[in-house]
Amino acid sequence: MQIDRTLRFCYRMSLGFSEPVQKHQFALRMIPQSDMRQQIVDCKVVLEPACALKEGVDSFGNRYVYGEIVHPHSAFCVEVRGTARTAGGIAVLCEIPVMSLAPYRFASQYTRAGDALKAYYGQNGQRAGEDDYAFAARLNHQIYQDMVYKQGVTDIHTTAEEAFSDRRGVCQDYAHIMLALCRMADIPSRYVVGMIEGEGYSHAWVEICADQRWYGMDPTNDKMTDGTYIKISHGRDYQDCIVNRGTFRGTGTQTQQVSIVVSEE
């Protein structure tokens, strides 16, 4: 692996509860893993309140940690801090046999195309001698041009079709639209959650599979992924990569704050 950058990352998520809650069970998909594009040199997970953590790997290959805080608490904070050495825009060899690519080839809940996306695909779906990679790269650019980045008009339940009909959305919507189009073109593609250099929230982009390799494409920023990207998880769409899932007993309301800082060492 040709190292491009060494990045320090700190992913902090805190939940606040208006009334203390108890029996709080959680599962977190916020820990980056080493793969052929990134090497996680060190990574530490700190929980407040502290509790014992268990680990699992889901069917998509994502690592997650889970645990339970039994005692009443009104705040919950997770900090994932570490160092990643990332390679530039190289493609990653497809790590799964072709058979298991099937879930990435068909529309999922968030990426099912309706009339608007089908019409758009009708206009842009002809390939002028392009291979899968070139075709997807063109879609990546096309989506960037035809969408307007706007926060607050969509939410976590918005589907690709809904966001596209309005031509506005955030990275999650851009990624879903890209996935919907790639899957219509029979290109296996998956949703990716991760971090990018700078300060802010988590980011979403896609990986498309061409010639047995995964290529990262980011329609929100009109680029291919490079050494400034740290991947955390992947799946068919948003719901396979939900960062924090949990249940608790209590009557209060919950607020969430996320802050991510990624900087070059």
């Binding site: 069970q25 268990k54 699992g56 889901d58 069917s59 998509f60 949990g246």
Partner: protein, 361 residues
């Protein structure tokens, strides 16, 4: 799928497909421990399979109760006729649960007493000697499932006969809104430290589209012709089937695969000319959305309605239990419609049930 008997997208694009189950093998390789196979008898005397229920088929307690009442009210009937005894269901169910139990207690998980089938859950628990539990009486700790009794004592659970559907089973992996499930139970299941009856993800095998492929699966795996026939079914997705559907449109019933519970079902013969033209246009545009079936003329069953013998539509649910080998319970749930013109036998819609005899001769 590899040998193209079933097209891939019938699996992966199906609403029943749960990618969470990829790579997970249930204990001892049993997926459908308790299957409910719905059958009808045509006027030609043939039995047809209408539906396979592989998720959480209910109703086994009703024939148990019916037989119990009938034996009590007319013991002579049972002396004079040679009938198969059906009082062994609890034993069979117990054997099925024990076969996959990894270690520990066996429990029946119910959504609670407001569930329509709560009677059955408690009855089966009582008859099999399993604990009847709610989700909040079970707890995952150190990758094991525990039953917590009223004193707070924890005892390990090795098998759960769950009477709640997949999506509510574990809020940490499936529907996050579920309050009747057990957080992290799927993690324990995935690691092979727990048996769930039935396995998670069976919905992929019992939807309307897969029904079409079941006879093909029987032939593919066993090299035999199925003993029981399906109602003849056509998938307009295939060109030859589409041609047949268009040529025999008036003799067929068309079903929208996305709908359930009797919705999205239309009879070709009952459409006007304009409706028919519209429907055929839709069918050609979205061939994947529909299946077509021959309309079977079912035999009516005699029932008593206020002391008068009348004829009603009926079906039979056979229960197949899978432990070391499959076993068909020599009984079944016979359900009939309350109204003379209705085809609906569901108890939620006023349908009734009666004892079912399997003659031993």
């Amino acid at each position: 799928m590899k040998d193209k008997v079933i097209p891939e997208d019938f699996i992966f694009a199906s609403s029943g497909y749960m990618p969470e189950c990829e790579g997970v093998s249930p204990v001892r390789g049993v997926y459908s421990h308790i299957s409910g196979i719905d059958l009808v008898k045509g006027k030609d005397g043939e039995w047809y399979i209408l539906e396979d229920n592989l998720r959480v088929p209910s109703g086994a307690s009703y024939p148990m109760i019916a037989r119990d009442l009938c034996r009590r009210s007319s013991p002579k009937t049972f002396r004079d006729n040679l009938l198969e005894d059906n009082r062994n269901y609890a034993q069979l169910l117990r054997k099925t649960m024990d076969y996959v139990n990894v270690e520990g207690h066996t429990v029946i998980l119910t959504p609670g007493r407001y569930n329509a089938a709560y009677f059955e859950h408690s009855y089966l628990a009582e008859k099999t000697g399993a604990h009847l539990v709610n989700g909040n009486e079970l707890l995952v700790e150190n990758d094991m499932l525990y039953y917590v009794d009223y004193k707070g004592k924890k005892e390990r659970v090795g098998a759960v006969y769950r009477r709640i559907s997949d999506e509510y089973l574990d809020p940490m992996h499936f529907n996050p809104e579920s309050v009747i499930g057990i957080p992290h139970v799927f993690d324990v299941y995935r690691k092979g430290k727990l048996a769930l009856l039935n396995a998670i993800g069976n919905g992929i095998a019992d939807d309307k589209e897969i029904y079409y492929f079941v006879p093909k699966m029987v032939k593919y795996y066993l090299g035999e012709e199925p003993v029981l026939s399906n109602a003849p079914t056509y998938l307009p997705f295939y060109e030859t089937d589409m041609a047949y559907v268009l040529a025999h449109f008036d003799n067929l019933v068309l079903k929208d695969v996305a709908e359930a519970g009797g919705y999205g079902v239309v009879f070709g013969s009952s459409m006007t000319k304009a409706q028919k033209a519209d429907f055929i246009a839709l069918l050609k545009r979205e061939p994947r959305r529909f299946i077509a079936q021959e309309v079977i003329d079912f035999q009516d069953l005699e029932i008593q309605d206020n002391g008068i013998v009348v004829e009603r539509k009926a079906d039979l649910r056979a229960f197949v239990l899978m432990a070391d080998e499959p076993y068909v319970w020599k009984s079944g749930l016979t359900r009939f419609s309350r109204n003379p013109d209705s085809f609906i036998v569901n108890s939620s819609q006023g349908g009734g049930f009666k004892d079912t005899w399997v003659l031993s001769r």
